[in-house]
């Protein structure tokens, strides 16, 4: 119901979205989409790679103060199976497919497959994955690498909105490089590299990425700094658990907002309803919040 209120709609890269809320990649399975049709503006499936990936051995998650560290290792069935099952994600909303490769060529191959298939409305490049051609540094390790992979994918996706998802480290330089290379939008931020230690067991518990409320101030800063510098829309992501959080990200400059681990502890519909209350109190439409700091 809420989602029908016109004041919730936003435009992203020329696409009208019924709400500014999106799931963050890797945090919402197709199995739980039912009943979410009016909550989200678009659906972002789990990142897919060219080949199937088994993922990392457990333990894969550890709770931390107001957050969690995960090391899933991009477990996914590969692009063939992904496309075969893509309709499971179809709840009448645009689908933004999240892609990751180990080489630029793999990224391009994935884009070509997505483009040929045609069902995904937009593509989100997950650049926080290791680049095997650069000694395992991620595709976010610097503007040159970002520019290269984004330009290559841009060419493979004529006319299709291309979002680029970045890590916090070096975010301003990487964002500018992505925009220069043709990105239509930027998703900020992926998880922050982190570690948990089991002191009693004297072992590393999980070496992975930090998400959740703990990183919200870091993500807000990234959105704020980047939105001032680029001309393309920014999608905020990191630690959203409430409607106020959504408003904070939009005020900081985001055109839309992703909910990741916050969806594990709150019902996304409740987050949206709180956001509606924020809008009512402010007497503003969702789209008016973006960059609406006084």
């Amino acid at each position: 119901m809420v989602a029908r209120a016109t004041s919730l709609g936003v435009e992203l890269c020329g696409l009208p979205l019924q709400t500014p809320l999106l799931p963050a990649a890797g945090t919402l399975a197709a199995e739980v989409l039912c009943g979410m049709e009016d909550v989200y503006g678009a659906i972002v499936p789990k990142t897919v790679t060219l080949e199937p990936r088994a993922g990392n051995p457990p333990p894969r998650i550890a709770e931390t103060a107001a957050g969690m560290v995960n090391s899933i290792g991009l477990q996914n069935p590969g692009i063939d199976r992904f496309l075969a099952d893509l309709d499971e994600y179809d709840v009448g909303l645009p689908i933004f497919a999240s892609l990751a490769g180990e080489t630029v060529v793999q990224f391009v191959r994935l884009c070509e497959r997505l483009f040929a298939d045609g069902r995904a409305t937009a593509v989100e490049l997950n650049l926080s994955c290791p680049n095997v051609e650069h000694g395992g540094l991620t595709f976010c390790s610097g503007p040159a690498v970002v520019g290269e992979v984004v330009a290559a994918c841009r060419a493979a996706l004529p006319g299709k909105p291309l979002l680029v998802k970045l890590t916090n480290e070096g975010v301003v330089g990487n964002a500018l490089a992505a925009e220069d290379a043709g990105a239509d939008g930027l998703t900020l931020i992926n998880t922050v590299p982190a570690l948990t230690v089991d002191a009693a067991g004297r072992q590393v518990l999980v070496r992975g990425g930090l998400s959740g409320p703990a990183i919200k101030p870091i993500a807000l800063r990234a959105v704020y700094e980047v939105a001032r510098m680029v001309g393309v829309p920014v999608i905020g992501c990191g630690g959203v658990t409430s409607g106020t959080d959504v408003a904070e990200f939009m005020l900081a400059g985001a055109a839309a907002v992703q909910v990741g681990s916050g969806g594990f502890v709150r019902e996304p519909r409740e987050i949206l309803e709180e956001f509606v209350t924020c809008l009512r109190n402010a007497g503003l439409a969702a789209a008016e919040l973006t960059g609406g700091l006084r």
Binding site: T27, A29, A54, P58, N70, S261, G263
Partner: protein
């Protein structure tokens, strides 16, 4: 994840173990299913971040109970400050109940889901024996306290050293007289159950893999299992938390 606000009806502590009963009028839990729980009083706080998973210990007349060990912050808050809880609906795949006779094998507080299972077996007339391992260094009256929940169970005092589960199975004796062994206990008990049951008797193990989303979204609760084309990681929250022993690629 949708969490429902429910009223706590009863709260009990024994040492570092806690029993909580709450009003639950939603879909009743199946044996071996779990719920997520957090203290409603502290739900404004963002730490602890995740709700905690617990097996449904029992369910009767609109009352569900949880039996758990107080380990860290989450269980401490649950055991102390919670007039009201936020809980999920029962989730996951529980025990599959077929014919009998069957054996229920539990370790201490982690025998939790066996109570609801034995209620179901009682109800459907499946003959079953219940064995519960109690560490030798547990307080004297621990078994007595635990026994309230498991009428007719046999409490086996094992050592607190490695190898304890083997002693348990020595006591149980020939497994071939059972059609299925249902196990819920410490990791070692589960591993031993898998070993001793292999080729002899079907076994179903209730796993307690760390969870985040509990709805299949995060792939955090990975359990290595054997599929048609080799081993892969299943998700304990939706493919389990109960797995057939032979499916586990341990």
């Amino acid at each position: 994840m949708k969490l429902h606000r429910v009223r706590v009806l009863h709260r009990e502590r024994f040492g570092d173990h806690a029993l909580i009963r709450y009003r639950w009028t939603g879909p009743p839990p199946e044996p071996g299913q779990f719920v997520l729980a957090r203290s409603a009083a502290t739900s404004h706080a963002l730490d602890p971040f995740l709700a905690r998973p617990f097996f449904a210990h029992d369910h009767e007349n609109g009352t569900t109970s949880l039996l758990f060990e107080v380990r860290g912050r989450g269980t401490l808050l649950l055991s102390e400050v919670a007039e009201e809880l936020l809980v999920s609906s029962p989730r996951g795949r529980g025990f599959e109940v077929q014919g009998g006779p069957v054996a229920l094998v539990g370790g201490g507080v982690w025998a939790a889901p066996l109570k609801l299972l034995s209620r179901r077996l009682e109800h459907t007339g499946v003959p079953h024996d219940t064995y519960i391992e109690v560490p030798r260094n547990a307080p004297n009256d621990y078994a007595v306290w635990l026994a309230q929940g498991y009428p007719g169970a046999r409490f086996v005092h094992t050592g607190d050293t490695a190898g304890a589960p083997w002693r348990l199975f020595d006591e149980i004796g020939d497994l071939a007289r059972y059609s299925t062994v249902y196990a819920s206990g410490p990791e070692e008990t589960l591993a031993t159950t898998k070993k001793v049951s292999e080729g002899r008797v079907a076994a179903q193990l209730a796993l307690r893999e760390t969870m985040a989303c509990a709805n299949g979204s995060c792939y955090g609760c990975a359990v290595p299992v054997l599929g048609y084309d080799g081993a892969y990681y299943a998700r304990a929250c939706i493919d389990g938390p109960v797995f057939p022993a032979e499916a586990l690629a341990w």
